[in-house]
């Protein structure tokens, strides 16, 4: 296999490690693209799922200050929401750059693009999908202000637990590979350890303390959760695909970089 490795490395341009500032720049570009795309999704899809919830709050007359538009008009909040999505994507891209640079030599894949996709799929699973299962997102009109501390703590614990589990699975897979274990057996062992640990995490952690108020229709909550998960999927997929594409341009032709 060494020959294959060398050939692949030349094609993939991975023979020398790219300098971190260049890597950061390319991933920031990917972050901007991801932020714009997820922001557009937010304006076109997620906001449409938020609207009926805001109407419910208004009808109830008990909407909290931030939803009644007292400080900002709805239009300003829509713009703020887009900017928020963009800032979140760029912030994630900065963190992703440091983590990717540190883990690059350990990630499977022949090119930076494929390695980055592996990392962003893990990121989506741990930071978006796992919380969506353990403590699902809710539109306005659902959350109880008195339990925000508890819910934030559970959310933080889910994130921390997910990151620890990802690290443990990576450690098991890495250890088995170093022992030369068969590839299929490594995949099976990694999957088994990951599933077992995730089951423990989901069983141990309490669910949300809130109950969804009776006046909130199920489809309002369902549509919002789908829209939110779709937005997170676009965010992470674009970070991996666009970011990886930009980094591949860098490593394939450093002269033009």
């Amino acid at each position: 296999m060494p020959l294959t490795h060398r050939t692949v490395d030349r094609l993939g341009g991975t023979a020398t490690a790219p300098p971190f500032p260049a890597l950061l720049g390319r991933l920031l570009l990917g972050g901007v693209v991801a932020g714009v795309l997820s922001g557009i999704w937010q304006l076109l899809v997620t906001e449409r799922a938020i609207s009926p919830a805001l109407a419910l709050e208004e009808a109830r007359g008990t909407g909290t200050v931030e939803d009644s538009g007292e400080m900002f008009s709805r239009t300003t909040q829509l713009v703020g929401g887009f900017v928020g999505a963009l800032v979140a994507a760029v912030g994630l891209a900065i963190v992703l750059a440091a983590v990717y640079a540190a883990l690059r030599h350990r990630l499977p894949g022949r090119t930076d693009g494929s390695r980055l996709i592996v990392l962003t799929v893990i990121g989506f699973a741990v930071i978006a999908l796992l919380p969506a299962v353990a403590i699902p997102a809710n539109p306005p009109a659902v959350g109880d202000p008195d339990t925000i501390g508890t819910r934030t703590a559970i959310y933080g614990a889910v994130l921390a637990g997910g990151i620890v589990i990802a690290a443990l699975v990576a450690a098991v897979v890495g250890a088995l590979r170093r022992r030369g274990t068969d590839h299929t057996a490594v995949a099976a062992a990694g999957t088994a350890v990951g599933v077992a640990l995730l089951a423990v995490l989901l069983l141990v952690l309490p669910g949300t303390p809130d109950t969804i108020p009776a006046d909130v229709p199920a489809d309002v909550v369902w549509n919002f959760r789908l829209a939110s998960l779709g937005q997170l999927a676009i965010l992470w997929a674009t970070l991996g695909l666009a970011g990886g594409w930009f980094v591949d341009r860098l490593t394939a032709s450093p002269a033009r970089g």
Binding site: T46, I94, A101, N138, G149
Partner: protein, 67 residues
């Protein structure tokens, strides 16, 4: 030695030198993400209230717990 193409990734892929400022920048970005996602001005008090309302929809959309 082994048939797995993944068995010796370190041989094929050199490490990226990650400078200390990369981690400082990542921490700063994490703090900014926390401020974006934070609950009701826990850190910034009044300014947090403004950020909270401005970024309200993004926080809901990103699935962070909210009021």
């Amino acid at each position: 030695m082994t048939s797995s193409p993944y068995a010796h990734p370190r041989v094929a892929v050199p490490r990226v030198a990650v400078p200390a400022w990369a981690w400082a920048l990542a921490l700063l970005a994490l703090f900014a993400l926390y401020l974006l996602a934070q609950d009701n001005g826990a850190v910034l008090a009044q300014a947090g209230g403004v950020a909270h309302e401005l970024f309200h929809d993004a926080r809901h959309a990103l699935g962070v717990p909210c009021h």
